[in-house]
Assembly symmetry: C2
Homo-oligomer: 212 residues x 2
């Protein structure tokens, strides 16, 4: 079976690969797995048909042979468990990779999304200029901790895993902020991820939809 | 081997079971697995010894037979994979349960933590009173979607899983806000979780530490 992933028909990031389907596309590309896409208009996200697949009206969704999944982390983990290449075979090393997946979406991403929310939904509020330094400081504390862990390593553990894939997707959301660029260890880490053939393939695929 | 979990020596929630070790304690209790605790003072969280186990200076940590894990979601998933009772045996149903675990920590929890952050770290800022209704509205949109999914079900899928465990732990963080109480379907869902013997055991264990 070829899986189908639900994506934005018109991504608000204009093809920069910041929407959460990017992680799923990248995971599938790393595994050499083809997929179809189901482009969704914003107006369709809250329709009952979509919420039956994605209870919170988000993207991506993933459908394969009767299985319907949501949450990019869960989809990437499912793909990584079904194909070789994104998780170590050793059980302990595999658990460590999964820990980094959770760290990406529940320790790094929330403080990054809080900054995005401030700019997008509270950009015209008179407190946002004063709050931004607080938000940046919260992000930088996480980035400094991550950089301290990473140090001279290429990847978070021995080899590239689904943990790196999720973490790099989350860090890429900060591209326009300059915050990752201020931490050379992390800027290099993101660049290593973006240089992988799987990333290049996945990035081109999402960009083609935007250009089309 | 008996695993050891790193917890706050003095939880800031004063024993209400809102710290993230509660999910790990609950998962272990559901599985009938004993554990030891390693109580950590706040001053020790940023020590190099702790950051070698938890790169972001948080709790909980989990150590078992040489494996060191962090992130409550990853630890609960590891426990659920190692013991029967918290994940379905069917692969597709198991993937669905994992999707709810990720939804708990990356779709529900961030908007809830944003509200906590506003009260704890920005409580004395002159914008917080004006921001709170915005934060509550973001939370209520998620809660309404979750309640719509849950409907008359007891649990998010057929049987209780690690997905319910993580979701109920996240919803419990809202207890003092009154927001979950305003959605009877979710208040009942949380109460069902809190009535499970595994929850009762785990709650008493963390409370004993606070009282001691």
């Amino acid at each position: 079976m070829i899986p189908t992933i639900g994506v934005f028909a018109r991504s608000p990031d204009r093809g920069r690969g910041l929407a959460r389907d990017m992680a799923v596309r990248w995971a599938l590309a790393e595994c050499g797995q083809d997929y179809r896409i189901d482009p969704l208009a914003f107006a369709d996200l809250n329709a009952p048909e979509h919420k039956a697949r994605q209870p919170f009206g988000q993207i991506p969704t993933y459908e394969d042979d009767g299985l319907v999944l949501f949450e990019s982390g869960a989809i990437v983990l499912h793909v990584a468990q079904a194909h070789p290449g994104l998780l170590p075979t050793d059980a302990a090393a595999r658990a460590r990779a999964v820990a980094w997946m959770f760290a990406a979406v529940s320790t790094l991403e929330p403080v990054i999304v809080e900054r995005e929310t401030a700019l997008l939904l509270e950009g015209d509020c008179n407190w946002t200029a004063a709050r931004l330094p607080l938000l940046d400081a919260r992000i930088m504390r996480r980035l400094d901790d991550l950089a301290a862990w990473l140090g001279p390593r290429d990847w978070l553990e021995c080899d590239f895993t689904a943990g790196d894939l999720m973490m790099i997707c989350v860090l890429r959301r900060l591209a326009s902020s300059g915050l990752v660029a201020a931490v050379p260890v992390l800027a290099d880490y993101v660049a290593r991820g973006e240089a992988r053939p799987g990333f290049v393939t996945a990035f081109a695929a999402q960009r083609a939809l935007f250009a089309g």
